[in-house]
Amino acid sequence: MTVRVRTLDDICKPPVGAESSLDTQEYLVNMGPQHPIAHGSLRLILRLDGETVKEVTPAPGYVHRGIEKMCESLNYRQIIHLTDRMDYLSALMNNWLVSKTVEKAAGIAVNPRIETIRTLMAELQRLQSHVLWWGVLGMDLGAFTPFLYGFREREIIGALFEETIGARLTMNYIQPGGLMYDIHADFARKVKEVLAYLKPILVEYDTLLSGNVILQERLRNIGILDPKKAVALGCTGPVLRGSGVPYDLRKLEPYGVYDQAEFDVVVGTRGDCWDRYYVRIEEMRQSIRIIEQLVDNIPEGPYMVTKFAAKIKLPEGIYYGHIETARGVLGVTIVSDGKSDIPYRMHFRSPNFNNLWAVTALAPGWRIADLIAIQSSLDLVIPDIDR
């Protein structure tokens, strides 16, 4: 009697042309649309060999709301309310961009009080956004504690916004011609209280997570993006600065009152995940520096320079404006036919849309776990990709 002895090959068929059962086969895996590290609905199609990523194909569009199409039937004041639904963690900066571009095109000059409050609000939001990113990065890499810490600090800044603006997330505050409401009398004192609380917290972040050997192993020398490639791939913001390119609109083309504040543009040296991580940590300190210099000297004046519901018509033409949000350069192209207060065409250059493309160049060759670190270091907000 013969007993048939089975081999591994009977269970898993080796690929065609394989020389032994140790040879592996490439396969496709969907990561998303619902995956914890996507922080929204983003689908990545991975071509894998074992655990090694061979190719990443992003398939976005799950949160596409057609914001650009909607803009073609709304006036400039109404559009403001759509912008904070794009990158909801940079809501005020998105408001500011449209206001700034419309003001420039329509020839509206705002007063120093408005500019100072706008700058303060934008920097507070950058802080809030980076604090949240830091917590979420920890969670993505398997450390749950930073997530709780990050959210705790985010809530404290959120309370500050809520007191002035009335909302915690989709904040409409900055509009063409000024602000929607004035800041309250106690604003400066409360901001200083929050800063005094945050400063030691940032030191705690370093001792809690940055110095952690596991985190360092997971981030250092992973996903290296050299400066030339980063520029060619259209990266901006902390991703580009992490690669050592000092492209920061706040410094290069100061808007608001950034020219009155002293701060440094933070750049990395290697362009790996760690550099992108530490650029953001350091940017938080710079934001605190900017706020500290401005908060005591908010000039007096009205908070609106136009009538509240005044129609704003832009002369015929094409206008491009941009701003440095927490994730990079948000640009807007406004095309006006000069006939009404509704744009003929409006297009947003979103930083997340362009930064996402970098993942296709960064991930191949790394393991799935490294892809998670790379994704986290890009700090993507999905509704801003899809718009």
């Binding site: 259209g234 901006t236 206008y319 065409r345 250059r349 362009n354």
Partner: protein, 154 residues
């Protein structure tokens, strides 16, 4: 380089180019057949060195029966900006891809193809980006209509 000098430098580089009026920054328009060559020259000319394609989009000028394509360029070397535009007829919106010059164009052109229906000649992976492959039409065109659209409030 300042605005006017930049326009002159580009026109010297490509005689078929002309100033694009009514733009708030240096802007030139070129015929679509000259676009690929100009793109390469803009990137490689040391005095211009436009290495970052910040943005690419399209405008549907339905009354004039044309699409206007807009490229916003930045130079990380010199710190200057340039807007390049080109117009293609609405009936045959074909334009060469610039994805070989600026890799990010690969991604940005797919968005414009999806929403505006511009055909990019030689694009390595021309697929819809946000909408599913079976979607009919291109929503950002001015004459686009589907069953889900609501009318404008009167």
């Amino acid at each position: 380089m300042d605005g006017e000098a930049l326009n002159q430098a580009v026109i010297a580089l490509e005689p078929a180019a002309a100033k694009r009026e009514k733009a708030d920054r240096p802007a030139v328009q070129v015929p679509p057949e000259k676009l690929a060559a100009l793109a390469l020259a803009l990137r490689d000319e040391p005095a211009l060195a436009f290495d970052l394609l910040l943005d690419h989009t399209a405008i549907d000028w339905i009354a004039e029966e044309r699409f206007e394509l807009v490229y916003v360029l930045y130079s990380t070397v010199h710190g200057h900006y340039l807007m390049v535009t080109t117009s293609v007829p609405r009936g045959a919106p074909v334009v060469p891809t610039v994805s070989a010059v600026w890799p990010i164009a690969h991604w940005q052109e797919r968005e414009v193809f999806d929403l505006m229906g511009i055909q990019y000649d030689d694009h390595p992976d021309l697929r819809r980006l946000f909408l599913e492959d079976e979607w009919q039409g291109h929503p950002l065109r001015k004459d686009y209509k589907d069953d889900h659209m609501l009318g404008l409030p009167k």
